[in-house]
Every structure is written in structure tokens, then in C-alpha cells.
């Protein structure tokens, strides 16, 4: 149906533009349509269909289902796993944004100073970002192995053997243990952006500030940080968008466990649909987090659209 409206406007477009500043009309639609069609069929339409499923009691298998209104949504606050998942999502979002941004900024400042071998260092810090999340889960699962893992072995080697524990296997440490690799892999992106932004700051400002007797810390807070504002904005917006999508790492590392200790909305949605055959309830969970993700990200999306639609 989205496509139908597009075609309709393609037909009346040629009549409208008299100011032939750019190519327009039907041709523009011919260029736009393939991508828009794919986008509508495989992203927009499924997302809207999920919204519909969320108002039903569909099990995901039967040919029929009943419309149950808001029942799935009303059941959520009574589901202890949803409560747990929401809390975990919030913790995940805060931790996997705060630490990568702070560490990334610190590394960028170091790399922007008098340091040798910058290309290699930059390469190293960004490397985890290009690995498949499943591989990262495998690597860290292997490091966390209670018996043969390098982390416990390291603790034993430095005389802290009493701290050796099954990091992924107990409620108290599992979520933190999954967030460590997330921080590990997400430091590279802010580092790159901050490094590029730092290199764009006019050094005359620092010289003038030094002449005026400003301390290093004053220079940081009054010159560096304000100059980095656009970079902060992009880094935080993109990290926020990314953090709502968390699924792969948790699925591959802990499968939501032990128990439900590391369930997030994405994995709990998956389990409901594919393990418990509650597709209606599962999609309702997905709808909730998608709505939150969109609401939070709209300012960023609007800024990108406005900036370009000159």
C-alpha cells in the first residue's frame, strides 16, 4: 500500500515542476523505487505486521488466532522476566555507553598527543568492532571458562585465586561479565570519532589559553569539550540506537541465563516466540522496545534529515 501511494505521486509529478532546476518527475521515482520497495516489503511492512500480531494471541504456528486487544501489553508488568529484562536493558544501555565513551575519549586524547605508531594503535582499538558478535561471544566465553579460562588462571597466577569464579554461570556476575566484551568492542568507534574531531580543533585556541594562564583542566573543559559537542552528539545517539538492539552477545554467551539473570527485551522476545510459542506476546515485547528506541532516536534522525535537506 505504501508502494501504491508512491506510484500515484510519480504520475502527477511531471505536471507539477516547471522550475527545472534539477531532474525530476518520473525519473526520480525510477531511481528511488527499487530501494524503497525492498525497504517497505522487508522492514516497514514486517514492523507494522508485528504491531498487529501484538494485539493477538497467535502462537506462531496455528493458521488462526484471536484478537485480544491490549492483553499482551497488560500482561507485561506482571511478568517478572519482563521486569528483569527492562532493568537489564537500562543497565546495559548506561554501562555500554558510558564506559566506551569515556575510554574512547581518553584514548583519542592520548592518540592526539605526542605518540608514536598511531595507525597501529588505532587499528588495534578498532579491531573488536569488525568481528562477528558470535565470535566475540565465543572468545569471551572461552576466556571466562571456570576451569581453563585465562581470566581465572590470571587471577590464580597473581595470587588472587580466591576471586576465581564461574563468571558467566552465576547470577551475581553474569550480566557484568557479558557487558565487559560489549565495552571492549564498543570503545573503538567513539575513539575514532573523537580523534577525528580533536584533530579538527584549532590549536591556536590552546596557545591563547596557555598565554592567558589557563590550566590543562580548564582548557579541557572550556575548549576541548565544547569543540567536541557535535562528536558527543553523534557518538551518544548512535550508541543509544545500538544499545537497544542488544541480542547477539547475550544469546551466544549466556542464552539469557543463568536462569533469567541476563535476559533483555530482545532475547526474551525471542524465547517467547520460538521457545514458548507465544508469538503475540513476543511481538508485543518487541513493539515496546522499538517504540522506546524510535522515541529516543527521533531527534537524531530529524537532525540528519534537516541537515541534508538543504
Amino acid at each position: 500500500m505504501g508502494t501504491a501511494t508512491l506510484e500515484a505521486s510519480a504520475v502527477d509529478a511531471p505536471g507539477a515542476p516547471r522550475r527545472r532546476k534539477k531532474y525530476g518527475g518520473v525519473n526520480a521515482w525510477v531511481f528511488a523505487l527499487p530501494a524503497l520497495a525492498v525497504y517497505v516489503v522487508f522492514l516497514v511492512y514486517p514492523a507494522i505486521t508485528s504491531l498487529w500480531f501484538s494485539f493477538t494471541d497467535w502462537d506462531g504456528l496455528s493458521p488462526t488466532y484471536n484478537v485480544v486487544g491490549l492483553q499482551n501489553y497488560l500482561a507485561m508488568p506482571k511478568d517478572p522476566v519482563v521486569i528483569q529484562a527492562v532493568i537489564n536493558n537500562i543497565i546495559w544501555t548506561i554501562v555500554t555507553i558510558f564506559f566506551p565513551v569515556v575510554i574512547g575519549l581518553a584514548l583519542a586524547m592520548l592518540l592526539n598527543g605526542k605518540v608514536r605508531g598511531k595507525p597501529v594503535l588505532r587499528l588495534i582499538f578498532y579491531t573488536p568492532c569488525v568481528l562477528p558478535l558470535v565470535a566475540i561471544a565465543s572468545i569471551w566465553g572461552w576466556l571466562y571458562n571456570p576451569q581453563y579460562g585465562a581470566i581465572n588462571e590470571f587471577l590464580r597466577a597473581i595470587g588472587l585465586g580466591s576471586l576465581a569464579q564461574p563468571w558467566l554461570g552465576q547470577d551475581s556476575t553474569a550480566l557484568a561479565a557479558v557487558m565487559v566484551p560489549a565495552v571492549w568492542l564498543r570503545v573503538g568507534f567513539p575513539m575514532l570519532l573523537y580523534l577525528a574531531a580533536l584533530q579538527g580543533i584549532n590549536t591556536d585556541m590552546y596557545e591563547a589559553a596557555t598565554v592567558d594562564g589557563a590550566t590543562k583542566s580548564q582548557q579541557f573543559w572550556h575548549i576541548t569539550m565544547p569543540s567536541l559537542r557535535p562528536a558527543h552528539y553523534i557518538v551518544i545517539a548512535l550508541s543509544l540506537i545500538d544499545s537497544f538492539k542488544v541480542f547477539d552477545l547475550i544469546y551466544a554467551m549466556t542464552y539469557g541465563g543463568p536462569g533469567t539473570a541476563t535476559q533483555v527485551m530482545g532475547t526474551w522476545m525471542y524465547f517467547n516466540v520460538f521457545q514458548y510459542y507465544q508469538a503475540g506476546y513476543g511481538t508485543a515485547i518487541a513493539v515496546v522496545i522499538t517504540v522506546v528506541a524510535i522515541a529516543v532516536s527521533i531527534p537524531y534522525v530529524r537532525s540528519q534529515t534537516k541537515e541534508h535537506a538543504v
Binding site: 505521486s9 507539477a16 534539477k22 531532474y23 525530476g24 518527475g25 526520480a28 531511481f31 524503497l36 525492498v38 522487508f42 516497514v44 511492512y45 514486517p46 584514548l107 592526539n112 605526542k114 605518540v115 608514536r116 605508531g117 587499528l123 588495534i124 582499538f125 578498532y126 579491531t127 569488525v130 568481528l131 562477528p132 558478535l133 558470535v134 565470535a135 565465543s138 572461552w142 581453563y148 585465562a150 570503545v187 575514532l192 577525528a196 584533530q199 590549536t203 562528536a231 552528539y233 553523534i234 557518538v235 540506537i241 541480542f247 551466544a252 522476545m269 525471542y270 516466540v273 518487541a286 522496545i289 522499538t290 528506541a293 534522525v301 530529524r302 534529515t305 541534508h308 535537506a309 538543504v310
Partner: protein, 304 residues
């Protein structure tokens, strides 16, 4: 103005991301003194810590299991072997998963970049009705988590008979790649001066010729960046592949690796070798092509 002059004017635009990379390699402008040994040591230690999981993985993959078990994960290997790779390659079904992932990559990436570039061209340089609305709707796709679409996508593909088939992944992969690709490409296309397009138009070139002979060649840096980032994302994608592919013959690298991880839970050296097999192509590609990735990511940011 002659076309020649236009062309000359365009050169710096096309070279922009390159210039940016050069700048990143060698902080420009500022008279940087050599040295800073103290700083270098500090950051080198942090880098070493950062890369240590991968270094450990590499070492472990080349040592016999008996040596690993007897001496512990942090010990220096007593002997070296390639046996782990032989074991992992067979059990992990990597010949199949490699073929499937490569097939998907070759099918999806060029097609995705082409249709995204076309849409980006329409948004940036053609008079497209409701262009701003379309742009907003497409960019909003960046925020949509894959898992909200999995149930309907599964139903949709089942009705086409495309469940448990590698080509069946192409549609959803294309759709989720479009927002980012269009975002990057249209902002690059926008920087191409309108004058050269006008000049080509006066010379009688239609939009297709302008697109393929002018816009595409002039945008090589942006296209290469998008191709690489899209290839990485395609190679790494997990959720759709997990849900849509069921038989071993159709699995991609990430799904295959997950199965493999379960089977090799007690064979630490074999597991390390298998993980390496899965990530080596992407690591090699990254090391050789990293300047494009860095340039593309940061070009977007500094515009802010």
C-alpha cells in the same frame, strides 16, 4: 563555464575522504614534535591489554590440547601444531558455511549498494516529491531493531518458499542495510557540485548517464567505504540467519560458529582454531582496508 573547468573544480571534492585519512594518519597543521616516549609506552600497554584476548586466541590455536591442559592457558606453548585447524575445519562444517557466507556477500552487497546509491542520488540530486519525508522514513530504519521484524519476515519468506535458503536472506539483509548506506551516500552525493550535473544535462546526458558516468565514478571513496562496512555487516549478521536457516547445509559463518562452540566446549585449542577460522577473512580485510573504514566513519562525524 567549460566542462573542463568544472572537472577541475570537482577533483578536491572527490578526493575529500582521502585527504581526511591522510590527516588522520599524520595530524596536520600542528607542528608535532617526535617522541613522547612516556605517553607511547602508556598507550602501548593499554593497546596490548586490549588486543590480548586475540593474541591469546592465536597462540592457543597453534598448540596441542594436551599442552594447553597440562600447562594452563597462560603458559608459553611447549610445541606447535596445525592439528586444531584440521579438526575444527571438519567438525565446524566451515567449507559449507564459508561458501554460504561468501555467496550471500557477493549477492547482497553489490545489489544493496546499487539500489541505495540510486535512492541516494534521487534524494540528493533529483527533484523527488516528498523527498524529506522519504529521507526521514528511511533514516528512521536505523533505529528499528531486527527482532521486531523477525516473525512477519519468517511468515513472508515461508509463503515464498524461501525459509531455510541462503538467497532468502537477501531481502531482509538489503532492507536493513539501506538506511545506513543511503545516509552516507546521499550526504556524499550532495557535495558534488550541481554545476557539473547541469553541464552534463546541457550536453544531452540523461539521469542514468549522469548517475553511472558522473556520480558513481566521482563517489568512489564513499562507495568503497559503504561496500566494506556493508560486507562486514553482512558477514557478521546473526539473528536473521539464526531464525531463517535450519539445515546445516545452509548455515552462514556466525550460526555455524555458534553450533561449533557447543560441540567443542571441552576442546579449548580446537575452539580457538575454529574461532580464528571464522574471523580471519574479516580480520585480513580489515587490516588492508582499514583506512577506508576509518575515513568513512569519521567523515560522517566531523560534519556533525
Amino acid at each position: 563555464m567549460s566542462t573542463f573547468a568544472e572537472g577541475a573544480e570537482l577533483a578536491p571534492v572527490a578526493a575529500l575522504p582521502d585527504a581526511h585519512i591522510a590527516e588522520a594518519e599524520q595530524p596536520s597543521g600542528k607542528p608535532k614534535r617526535k617522541g613522547g616516549t612516556g605517553m607511547t609506552i602508556v598507550i602501548a600497554l593499554v593497546a596490548l591489554l586490549w588486543i590480548s584476548p586475540l593474541v591469546l586466541l592465536l597462540i592457543t590455536a597453534f598448540r596441542p590440547l594436551s599442552d594447553f591442559v597440562a600447562n594452563g592457558p597462560l603458559s608459553a606453548p611447549q610445541e606447535w601444531t596445525l592439528q586444531n585447524f584440521k579438526d575444527a575445519w571438519g567438525v565446524g562444517n566451515f567449507a559449507t558455511t564459508y561458501r554460504n557466507s561468501a555467496f550471500l556477500l557477493i549477492l547482497k552487497v553489490p545489489l544493496g549498494v546499487l539500489i541505495s546509491a540510486m535512492l541516494a542520488f534521487a534524494l540528493a540530486k533529483l527533484r523527488l516529491r516528498f523527498g524529506a519525508v522519504i529521507m526521514f522514513a528511511v533514516f528512521l530504519g536505523l533505529t528499528i531493531p531486527i527482532y521486531i521484524t523477525i516473525v512477519p519476515v519468517f511468515v513472508l519468506l515461508r509463503s515464498f518458499g524461501l525459509v531455510d535458503s541462503v538467497p532468502g536472506l537477501v531481502g531482509p539483509y538489503l532492507a536493513f542495510g539501506i538506511p545506513f548506506e543511503v545516509l552516507v551516500l546521499q550526504s556524499f552525493f550532495r557535495q558534488l557540485p550541481d554545476e557539473i550535473i547541469e553541464a552534463a544535462k546541457i550536453d544531452g546526458a540523461g539521469p542514468w548517464r549522469i548517475f553511472f558516468t558522473l556520480v558513481i565514478p566521482l563517489s568512489t571513496p564513499a562507495l568503497v567505504t559503504v561496500i566494506i562496512l556493508d560486507a562486514v555487516a553482512t558477514w557478521n549478521e546473526f539473528l536473521f540467519a539464526l531464525i531463517l536457516l535450519s539445515s546445516d547445509a545452509n548455515k552462514t559463518i556466525p550460526v555455524g560458529l555458534l553450533n561449533f562452540q557447543g560441540q567443542f566446549a571441552n576442546n579449548n585449542t580446537g575452539l580457538a582454531a575454529g574461532i580464528l577460522i571464522a574471523v580471519v577473512p574479516i580480520l585480513i580485510a580489515y587490516i588492508f582496508l582499514q583506512r577506508w573504514i576509518v575515513g568513512g566513519l569519521t567523515a560522517g562525524a566531523t560534519k556533525g
